[in-house]
């Protein structure tokens, strides 16, 4: 097995006296789709926020590509290829679709102040615009490139959110509940998109409630409960694990 792209070691994060994440361990292998699931309040979102630099860990480590990145700022993590998305339709709603993706190209379109005001940044900007158009084509959004993001239907907004993240050249992308609020058609389409993203050589990690989607999509699933890891394994192994069934007691796992 190769070196994991992302590793979480004895991670803890508490808020006041509440231990939201407690001694959590897992590793994400390159080029996989890795799911993080668990009942409400299991600490999934907190874990996501710690990995992506929104909170510093109380103790423990986040290791990315063999490098300790615990407590590193979100923007620095983005520079080295660890990109997250947000729940719901967090977008630059006031911008056009293409400008949303252009902002996503921030890392690859760096240029000096002087070249910005003299227009000598045209080469990087043309490249960024091409990349943005390529991504819009990838997500089937080309036709609405100049529409304001706020006018898009829900499913398109979610796809645009992924396009913005992909524009930042991720090596690993963390998807925060990508299927929430989607109808079955949209979910199926989104699953296909996530697989396409992996085909681009990008590792995917996702937090999700929609069991059917997670089971159908992931190579490995980590199940969290009360802030730590309960079970980890393939979808089949997880589905049949009595501990998982117990943790979700009273909830139907609709894929089961």
């Amino acid at each position: 097995m190769s070196q994991p792209i992302l590793e979480v070691c004895d991670l803890c994060r508490s808020f006041g006296g509440l231990k939201a994440v407690h001694n959590l361990n897992f590793a994400v292998e390159p080029q996989t789709i890795h799911g993080l699931i668990g009942p409400n309040g299991a600490g999934k979102t907190t874990t996501f926020n710690v990995i992506s630099g929104f909170y510093a860990p109380s103790s423990g480590k986040v290791v990315y590509q063999g490098r300790d990145v615990s407590g590193m700022k979100t923007s620095k993590l983005a520079e080295i290829g660890l990109i997250r998305t947000f729940q719901g339709t967090t977008l630059f709603q006031e911008f056009s679709v293409i400008d949303n993706v252009r902002i996503g190209c921030h890392n690859s379109a760096r240029s000096g102040f002087f070249s910005r005001i003299t227009g000598m940044d045209r080469a990087v900007e043309t490249a960024a615009l091409d990349k943005a158009h390529e991504l819009l084509a990838f997500f089937g959004l080309s036709e609405i490139a100049n529409e304001p993001a706020a006018s898009l239907p829900h499913g398109h907004q979610r796809a645009l959110g992924m396009a913005v993240a992909l524009a930042a050249d991720p090596k690993i992308i963390l998807l925060d509940e990508p299927f929430t609020g989607m109808n079955p058609d949209e979910t199926a389409r989104m699953m296909e998109l996530v697989r396409d993203v992996r085909r681009r050589g990008i590792t995917v990690m996702l937090v999700e409630h929609d069991m059917k989607a997670v089971m159908g999509l992931c190579d490995v699933i980590t199940v969290m409960n009360f802030g730590s890891r309960l079970v980890e394994g393939t979808p089949d192994a997880v589905r049949n694990d009595p501990k998982v069934i117990e943790a979700y007691l009273g909830r139907a796992i609709d894929a089961a």
């Binding site: 700022k73 947000f86 902002i103 910005r116 003299t118 006018s151």
Partner: protein
């Protein structure tokens, strides 16, 4: 095709406008020329203020920062004998530097807290000027500030000539400000305003960009202060107090802050109203009340400012061809 035509008409309009600006001093009286000089300086002040607001933070210290530029430039020229054109640049840089330092405490705050924080920081600076007679001259400020050196036979003491100087400096500055806003830097400022978390998630260092906006805005505000100081020849802490800041706010808000030209329209329109209409009517002491009423009316009824009115008029004028999307940023991709 239609775009080409609109581009040509834009350029044409620009040229007519430029010609009007160049002829302007010839049709004005002496005292009106003085007002024209101050107006050009204020255009730079309010345009730089708009750059600051792009990231979503409203400062109440912008006029004090203008004062930092004025004080620094005056002191460089008067105490150290630096040639005035150089001292103006140094003054503007000092204002930028002050903003860089202030960024560290101030950008720990957002929104309302930033507003109050910038106000407090500005008041501290003003009190420092007041308290230290050397080198700031205390409450009386600095007098006998060296003027801009004559260029050959052209006396820079003449308002007419100083007007052209200011026009050149301010046009160049506005060009730079405009380019900044139209470039990716401007787009990133907007992005931070609307969704700073999302911007961060794709690699935007939000603190650095907020600081950049503050430093750039302060540099140009400082430059406007330097232009002011070497023209009027005397500055004091009261010149840069919160009342002056209120005027900048009024210009920006009455003009509208949604586009680059809104605040400029605001300062020009209000100066014309002020100088031509109010002065000739002899309403001098009632002027702040009219300003206050204008401010309230525009907040209540003109959320996009005068510039919104101009746009609306433009749209009606153009006849209703294609309905414009309601939310659309100006963009020249």
């Amino acid at each position: 095709m239609r775009e080409d035509i609109s581009k040509i008409s834009k350029w044409g309009l620009g040229l007519v406008f430029l010609a009007a600006l160049l002829v302007l001093p010839q049709v004005l009286s002496y005292s009106q020329r003085e007002i024209a000089v101050l107006l050009v300086i204020n255009v730079l002040l309010v345009a730089s203020y708009r750059l600051m607001t792009l990231t979503g933070e409203w400062s109440l210290g912008h006029v004090v920062i203008m004062g930092v530029g004025a004080y620094a430039s005056a002191l460089f020229a008067k105490r150290l004998g630096v040639p005035v054109p150089v001292s103006m640049f140094l003054g503007a840089s000092t204002a930028g530097l002050a903003a860089a330092v202030l960024s560290f405490p101030l950008f720990r705050m957002k929104g309302f807290y930033f507003l109050i924080g910038s106000f407090a920081a500005g008041e501290v600076i003003r009190l420092v000027w007041k308290y230290f007679s050397t080198p700031f001259g205390g409450p009386k400020g600095i007098k006998l500030i060296p003027g801009f050196p004559d260029i050959g036979p052209i006396s820079m003491f003449e308002p007419e000539n100083y007007y052209y100087l200011c026009l050149a400096v301010v046009s160049l500055s506005l060009f730079i400000l405009y380019r900044i806003e139209q470039s990716r830097i401007g787009l990133t400022f907007h992005a931070i305003h609307w969704q700073d978390k999302l911007a961060e998630s794709v690699g935007v260092g939000t603190f650095r960009y907020r600081m950049l906006a503050f430093v750039l805005a302060s540099f140009f505000a400082g430059l406007s202060g330097a232009l002011y100081a070497h023209y009027i020849g005397t500055i004091n802490p009261t010149r840069f107090d919160v009342e002056e800041m209120v005027f900048v706010l009024i210009w920006a808000i009455v003009g509208g802050t949604n586009t680059f030209f809104g605040p400029i329209i605001g300062v020009v329109a209000l100066t014309i109203i002020n100088e031509i209409i109010l002065r000739s009517l002899g309403f001098d002491s009632a002027r702040p009340m009219i300003y206050g009423a204008l401010l309230i009316l525009s907040v209540l009824f003109l959320p996009k400012g005068l510039e919104g009115v101009v746009q609306k008029a433009g749209r009606i004028f153009k006849a209703r061809k294609a309905p414009e999307p309601t939310v659309r940023r100006e963009q020249n991709a």
